[in-house]
């Protein structure tokens, strides 16, 4: 419940404050968000599986975000930023789909 509330509060904060994304953060923020979403879906799945561990969730969340940002950063430096961003999004998307499928099986038993 707390995470869901926190998420909601974050959304509201974002809506209310409406900050502009600093230029240096602009390439990383979308990837970081997707990576964080992946971690959250993983966490939800683990929770439904009864395997949830706060430490693992926090570490995977943070490391997912950092690794995603790092990959984008490296890609930018190597001149393949766009492609690498796409690759990261695809990989994370696949993972999110997998986790979502597991969650669905849990929730709907199908």
């Amino acid at each position: 419940m707390i995470p869901a509330f926190a998420l909601l509060i974050g959304v509201i904060l974002g809506l209310v404050l409406d900050p502009t994304v600093p230029l240096w953060l602009q390439p990383y923020l979308p990837i970081a968000v997707v990576a964080a979403l992946d971690a959250v879906f993983g966490g939800v799945r683990a929770w439904l599986d009864g395997l949830f561990d706060a430490k693992v969730f926090v570490v995977s969340f943070v490391s997912n975000v950092l690794v995603a940002a790092l990959i984008v950063f490296l890609g930018d430096k190597l001149g393949v930023g766009g492609q690498l961003s796409t690759a990261v999004v695809v990989v994370l998307g696949i993972r999110i789909f997998g986790n979502a499928a597991a969650i669905r099986r849990h929730v709907f038993r199908a």
Binding site: I2, P3, A6, L7, G10, V21, A32, V56, R95
Partner: protein
């Protein structure tokens, strides 16, 4: 293909150690340890979720705010850029055309100004030459007395021609302006210029270099001599400001027209 199985496993990997770590933690951990670590973990998780929601909304906002340019794909950007370049080219061409037009108008203005000034100058020159305006300048006043009524038209004509040859620019005899078509007729004692009768003494006013004019009249066998021979007396007075105020009517040419091919 080998990457695919690896990557789906990765999401489970963070949780797999979680399984092993969580099992002992959840089931075997001591009761006093759980509340503090749980609370701390819950706070961390809440913070992370809060951050996620925040970042999510901010990213969505910035994507929709940026009028699509920031989120546009490379090909779209390229085509947009092409459009803009083409538009810029068109606008530049417009600018060039307009500037050319402006330059032409400005220089045309200049040209017409100069042309106007020239025309005005020329009109003045021609008006003096034709005798349609009064003229003023240095010159001489020649007075011919004719007590014996012996001074004939040829003497006056000679005087006019001598003055012309000496560079007189405007002349009048009595109250008659001398123009290109002036004619001296009549007989001695009753001179007629352009149909107007004159009576002695005759006064001729001419604008030009006073000395040159006087010398021209004084040459041996010239006007002054001729007047003396006719029993009259010619007196010449140099003046700094001779006013030739008599005017000539202008006849519009009936047949002559400016030649077409003669341009200014």
């Amino acid at each position: 293909m080998p990457e695919r199985p690896e990557q789906p496993e990765q999401p489970e990997q963070p949780e797999e150690p979680g399984e092993h770590a969580a099992r002992p933690a959840d089931s075997e951990a001591a009761a006093p340890q759980q509340p503090t670590s749980n609370r701390r973990a819950g706070m961390l998780i809440g913070l992370l979720c809060l951050l996620l929601g925040f970042a999510l909304v901010v990213q969505v906002r910035s994507t929709t705010d940026a009028s699509g340019l920031g989120a546009a794909r490379q090909e779209d950007l390229v085509s947009i850029l092409d459009d803009l370049s083409a538009r810029e080219d068109r606008l530049r061409q417009d600018i060039a055309t307009q500037e050319e037009l402006r330059d032409r108008l400005v220089s045309g203005d200049d040209q017409s100004d100069t042309a106007l000034a020239e025309a005005l100058l020329r009109e003045q020159q021609l008006a003096i030459l034709a005798g349609t305006v009064a003229a003023e300048g240095p010159g001489i006043e020649l007075t011919v007395s004719d007590p014996g009524a012996e001074v004939g038209p040829e003497v006056l004509l000679n005087a006019i021609q001598e003055l012309r040859a000496a560079g007189a620019e405007a002349m009048q005899v009595g109250d008659v302006r001398i123009g290109v078509s002036s004619a001296v007729t009549g007989r001695a004692g009753l001179l007629v210029i352009d149909g107007i009768e004159l009576t002695a003494p005759y006064t001729i006013r001419a604008i030009g270099d006073p000395q040159t004019l006087e010398i021209a009249l004084n040459i041996p066998g010239g006007v002054v001599n001729a007047v003396s021979r006719a029993g009259g007396e010619a007196t010449i007075e140099q003046q700094d400001a001779v006013v030739v105020s008599a005017l000539r009517p202008v006849d519009d040419p009936e047949y002559a027209r400016p030649a077409e091919d003669e341009e200014d």
